[in-house]
Amino acid sequence: MTPCLSYSGGAGALAQWMLVELQGEVEPRQSGSLAGSLLGDLHYTCEGTPVLIVGHHILYGKVVQLEKPFAVLVKQAGGPQPSPGEPQGHYTVTALIKTKLLFKTRPKPIITHMPKKV
């Protein structure tokens, strides 16, 4: 009868997360899952421009305040198995996202001739 339920507001403020929007796909370098693997380093210039170094690429982006924030829903374990495209299942709202880092520019490849020894 009640297939799915979302967040019940309650104790504690909702966490604020950030969205990073990238072009293309994210794939693991080695075969296997992405879990645990590094994506890259995120810097900001003094003017506040985000700079993302991913592999051999530098991406320049911008900070965008979302006109329509997102809620992050996390599926609760033990709920009924949803079919694709249906939001049935038990979810809780874990966080809000009001800001995103949008990387739309063509990545600049980093050309290296010699790996730097640490």
Partner: protein, 394 residues
């Protein structure tokens, strides 16, 4: 993290390889890696319409409602939204604990390496669009077992479901406020304090008749019907809650000098009496009906055809003119279904005739004209603009 985390030295080495000048950058860096559950697809994104974000932050709930086979909707306390998947061509990563430049600048201690774990990623998100609450089911559920009065043998042997507010919240795709408002619109009441019921129509008319007869015999003004006297005089005939309920359904309650009175709704009473007359046959001779109708309403009330909008339809093309019962709440709830059904009842409609039967379909800020443009085709008939179906109706 069990894996070796990147060190400041490694970060600086990468900067150097990339030929970026650290002096042009803020001192803090986020080293982004994928968290252990990132690929599991446990997280998804829901784009929030204006106001919903504030509701969540205020600690209020959002609920997704829909049984198998129903398109899911999201409900806040007072609004309902359709949910639809939107695809982006980009990859969206969601990252807890990731700071903006302003946040980093505000915190002087942040010249650190911040290890941020990406909680999840997606190429799509749920999009919301405000929609009309799906309330037809509410009336349908309550009409399964209308209340016929205390004299009917029911309750003990009743096999029908009875519905509490909580039951309705779990079954109806609408927000709580929209549900409670609609319960008021359909004159539902709580019997035994818990279960929502609608009155069976003839029982409702019987109660109304008691009240109108009393008004007549007491020569009360229709604007000042005293609750106390009604309960005293009618309390032996019907339960007090039912007497009060019928007064609330057909009147406006107010207090004057400490006493409760009702200002009776002339239009609503006339309309109910019309329904009672019309439901006895497929159609009626219009002028005969109007005569009987006026005679049937309480003294001092005047019947008018415009009281019957959305309840009955006049056929001006027949000789003599006729009138028949057509209740908007019996028609399909979805736009296309509603128009199909209206056009199968009558091929061509004037705007005046069709408006009461499509008014409720209008979304926020949508006009009847916009609906007609979308779902109908217009033409001229005897100098009058009429609307017919865009497609052949079987």
């Amino acid at each position: 993290a069990a894996m070796s985390e990147r060190s400041r030295a490694e970060v600086d080495a990468t900067l150097q390889t990339a030929k970026l000048n650290p002096a042009e950058l803020l001192p803090a860096v986020h080293c982004l890696s994928f968290g252990p559950q990132a690929s599991a697809g446990e997280c998804c994104l829901l784009q929030l319409e204006p106001g919903l974000c504030a509701e969540l932050e205020a600690g209020r709930s959002l609920v997704i409602r829909g049984e198998k086979g129903e398109q899911a909707v999201l409900c806040s306390k007072d609004k309902t939204y359709d949910m639809k998947i939107a695809d982006t061509s980009n990859m969206l990563l969601f990252i807890p604990g990731c700071k903006t430049p302003e946040q980093l600048n505000a915190d002087p201690a942040s010249c650190n390496v911040i290890h941020s774990q990406i909680a999840g990623f997606s190429k799509n998100y749920w999009e919301l669009r405000r929609c009309r609450p799906k309330l037809k089911k509410l009336r349908k559920l309550l009409m399964e077992d209308p209340y016929e009065g205390p004299s009917s043998q029911e309750d003990q042997t009743s096999t029908f479901s009875k519905y509490t507010t909580e039951d309705l919240l779990s079954l109806i795709q609408a927000s709580e406020e929209e549900i409670l408002h609609h319960l008021q619109v359909i004159d539902a009441c709580k019997i035994e304090g818990r279960y929502w019921r609608v009155l069976e129509f003839s029982y409702e008319m019987k109660l109304l008749d008691h009240v109108t007869q009393l008004i007549d015999s007491e020569s009360w003004s229709l604007n000042k019907v005293p609750l106390r006297t009604c309960l005293e005089e009618l309390g032996s005939l019907e339960p007090r809650e039912m007497i009060e309920h019928i007064l609330l359904s057909y009147g406006r309650k107010y207090v004057d000098d400490g006493e409760v009175y009702f200002e009776m709704h002339e239009d609503k009473i006339c309309r109910a009496i019309a329904q009672m007359l019309l439901q006895n046959a497929v159609k009626f001779n219009l002028s005969e009906f109007q005569e009987v109708w006026q005679q049937s309403v309480p003294e001092g009330m005047t019947t008018r055809l415009d009281q019957l909008k959305g309840l009955a339809l006049v056929d001006k093309s027949s000789r003599p003119e006729t009138i028949f019962l057509l209740k908007v709440e019996d028609l399909p709830e979805d736009n296309q279904g509603r128009f199909n059904s209206l056009f199968s009842i009558r091929e061509k409609w004037t705007e005046v005739d069709i408006t009461p039967y499509i008014q409720d379909l209008c979304a926020e800020k949508q006009t009847v004209g916009a609906l007609l443009t979308k779902y109908a085709r217009s033409s001229m008939l005897n100098g009058v603009k009429v609307y017919n179906s865009r497609r052949p109706i079987s």
